[in-house]
C-alpha cells in the first residue's frame, strides 16, 4: 500500500500531536492545521487521501469546512472523519448529512481510531 497523506485539523495542540504521532506510527504521511482557515487553504493546495476534522475550531467550524470540501467537485471524494466531543444528536446527524464518512466521539481509544482510519483508507 502506498503511503497515504492525511490532514489533521484540530485546535488543541496536544490532541493534534497525539493523532499525528499515531498516524505516523501507522505509516501515514501527516499534515496538521490548528484552525479552520489554514485547514481550508491546505486542503485546496494539496491532495489528501483523508481528512480528520474537529468540529469546534476557531474562525471556521468543522461542519463548515466539511460543507466546503463536499461542495468542491475536485475534493468531494476525499473521505472525512469527524473527531469531536459532541454528543449532540443533531450535530452528528448534520455531519453525516453533509457527507462525513465517520464520526469518532471523544474520549476515544487510540487503537480503535487507527483501525477505523486504516479501514476507511482501504475501502476507498
Amino acid at each position: 500500500m502506498k503511503k497515504s497523506k492525511i490532514l489533521v485539523i484540530e485546535d488543541e495542540s496536544l490532541m493534534n500531536r497525539t493523532m499525528e504521532f499515531q498516524l505516523k506510527k501507522d505509516g501515514h504521511e501527516v499534515d496538521t492545521a490548528f484552525e479552520g482557515k489554514t485547514g481550508v487553504s491546505k486542503i485546496e493546495a494539496n491532495q489528501y487521501d483523508l481528512i480528520i476534522l474537529d468540529i469546534m475550531l476557531p474562525y471556521l467550524n468543522g461542519l463548515e469546512i466539511l460543507a466546503k470540501i463536499k461542495q468542491n467537485p475536485a475534493k468531494k471524494n476525499i473521505p472525512v472523519i469527524i473527531v469531536s466531543a459532541t454528543g449532540l444528536e443533531d450535530t452528528v446527524l448534520e455531519g453525516f448529512k453533509l457527507g462525513a464518512n465517520d464520526f469518532i466521539t471523544k474520549p476515544f481509544i487510540l487503537s480503535e481510531f487507527s483501525i477505523r482510519i486504516r479501514r476507511l483508507l482501504l475501502s476507498n
Partner: protein, 383 residues
C-alpha cells in the same frame, strides 16, 4: 550633580517651610493629590512595562516546558496504546517527566493540565496509564495541597484534578463545598463528587439546597456523557425534593437514561406547584415517547398555564401517535397566536397524514387563522 542635589533639597525645604505650611488646607490636599496621582500613574506605566516583559519571558519558558512535556507524553502514549505495558514503562515515563524542574509550581501545574487533557480525551489503556503516571510522580500531593488553599479558585482547581484522576477517598471532602456561596466552587464540588465517589455519586443532590443552575447541569451532563462507569440510580428518588431545580435536573437525567420505571413517579408531578417543573415533566413525556399518557396531557390541558399548554402541544407533536389530531385541529381556532402556531407545527410533525390535514384545513379556515398553516407548510421554514 551634588550641586543640583543641594539646590533641590534647599529649594524643597524652603518651599515647604516658607510657603507650603502657609497654604490653605485645600491647596495642601491638592499638592498631596498631585503627588499621589503622579506616582500612581507612573507606577501604572512601570506595571504595564514589566508585566509585558515578564509575560514574554514566562510565555517562552512555558512554551518550552509544554513542548517537552508533550513530547514525552505523546511519545509514550502512542507507544503503549496498542501494546501491553509494564510497571517499568510507567516508571520510565515518570523518570522522563522528573527530569523537568518539578520543584516549580508552574511546571507541576502544566504537567497536571496536560495529563488531565489526555485523560479526558482518550479512553481505554491510555486512560489508566495516565492516572498511574499522575500517582507515580506524586502529583496527587500537589493537588491535595491545593485543596487546602484559602483561595476558592485554587481549591476548585484541586477538586477538578483529584476527581479527574479518580482519587476516591477524597470525595467526601468535596461535599462540604456543595452548598458553597461561591457558585463556581459549588459547581466544581458537585461535578468532582460525581466523578470521584465510588459508592453514591449522586448523593450531593440530597444536600444541594441552592438552585442547581443551568451551567451546573450542563457540566454534570457532560461528565455523565464522558464517564461511562458512573453508577446510575433511579432518579425518581429526587422527584420529591424541595429544590425545584434538582427535580428538573432529575427529570432530564431520567429522560437521558431512559428510565421507564420512573414514569409512574413522574406522573405525580402533574400537580406540582412550580410551572417549570410541570413543563419539564410534560417535555419528558415527549422525549420518552410515552404514547399512553397523551390523553392524560390533553385532559390536563385546560387547567394549565400558557407555557405549559404550549409544552403539551409540542409534546403531542413529538409523540405523533395520530390519536390527538382532532384535539390539535380545534386548537387552530384558539385566540392565542402561540397556541395556534404550535398546534399547526404539531400537526405538521404527524408526517404525511398531518400534511394532508393541513391542506384540507387551508380551504376551511378563515384568513387570519390560515397564516400559521401556511407557515408550517413552507418547507424552507421548517428546515
Amino acid at each position: 550633580m551634588e550641586k543640583l542635589y543641594f539646590f533641590l533639597s534647599g529649594f524643597l525645604t524652603d518651599f515647604y517651610e516658607n510657603r507650603f505650611q502657609a497654604y490653605p488646607q485645600i491647596v495642601k490636599i491638592a499638592y498631596a493629590g498631585i503627588f499621589i496621582s503622579f506616582t500612581v500613574t507612573s507606577l501604572c506605566y512601570l506595571l504595564v512595562y514589566f508585566r509585558r516583559v515578564n509575560q514574554a519571558y514566562i510565555g517562552s519558558k512555558t512554551d518550552k516546558w509544554k513542548a517537552e512535556i508533550e513530547n514525552i507524553l505523546t511519545g509514550s502514549v502512542i507507544q503503549f496504546n496498542s501494546e501491553d505495558y509494564q510497571q517499568e514503562d510507567i516508571t520510565e515515563i515518570a523518570e522522563n517527566l522528573r527530569k523537568l524542574p518539578m520543584h516549580k509550581y508552574i511546571v507541576r501545574q502544566i504537567v497536571v493540565n496536560e495529563l488531565m487533557f489526555l485523560h479526558k480525551n482518550f479512553s481505554g489503556k491510555v486512560n489508566i496509564l495516565i492516572s498511574s503516571v499522575y500517582l507515580l510522580i506524586g502529583l496527587d500531593k500537589h493537588s491535595r495541597r491545593k485543596l487546602k488553599s484559602w483561595r476558592w479558585y485554587i481549591k476548585a482547581e484541586a477538586i477538578e484534578e483529584l476527581s479527574e484522576f479518580g482519587i476516591h477517598e477524597i470525595a467526601p471532602h468535596f461535599l462540604k463545598y456543595v452548598n458553597s456561596k461561591n457558585i463556581t466552587l459549588s459547581m466544581q464540588a458537585q461535578s468532582g463528587y460525581l466523578q470521584a465517589s465510588k459508592t453514591d455519586p449522586f448523593i450531593f443532590l440530597d444536600y444541594a439546597n441552592q438552585n442547581l443552575i443551568l451551567w451546573h447541569q450542563i457540566n454534570l451532563m457532560e461528565i455523565l456523557n464522558r464517564k461511562k462507569d458512573i453508577e446510575i440510580p433511579a432518579f425518581s428518588k429526587w422527584f420529591t425534593s424541595k429544590n425545584n431545580s434538582v427535580v428538573i435536573f432529575c427529570i432530564r437525567l431520567m429522560v437521558k437514561f431512559n428510565q421507564t420505571d420512573c414514569v409512574k413517579d413522574l406522573i405525580k408531578l402533574a400537580h406540582h406547584e412550580n410551572e417549570e417543573v410541570r413543563k419539564e415533566m410534560i417535555a419528558a413525556f415527549g422525549d420518552m415517547s410515552l404514547v399512553d399518557y397523551e390523553l392524560h396531557l390533553t385532559i390536563h390541558f385546560r387547567n394549565e398555564t400558557l407555557p405549559c399548554k404550549i409544552e403539551i402541544i409540542k409534546t403531542i407533536g413529538k409523540i405523533a401517535s395520530n390519536d390527538e389530531l382532532n384535539f390539535l385541529k380545534n386548537l387552530l381556532l384558539d385566540p392565542e397566536f402561540q397556541i395556534r402556531f404550535e398546534a399547526a407545527k404539531a400537526i405538521r410533525k404527524h408526517g404525511e397524514k398531518g400534511e394532508m390535514i393541513l391542506f384540507d384545513l387551508l380551504e376551511n379556515l378563515s384568513v387570519e387563522n390560515r397564516d400559521v398553516v401556511l407557515h408550517v407548510l413552507d418547507s424552507k421554514l421548517s428546515a
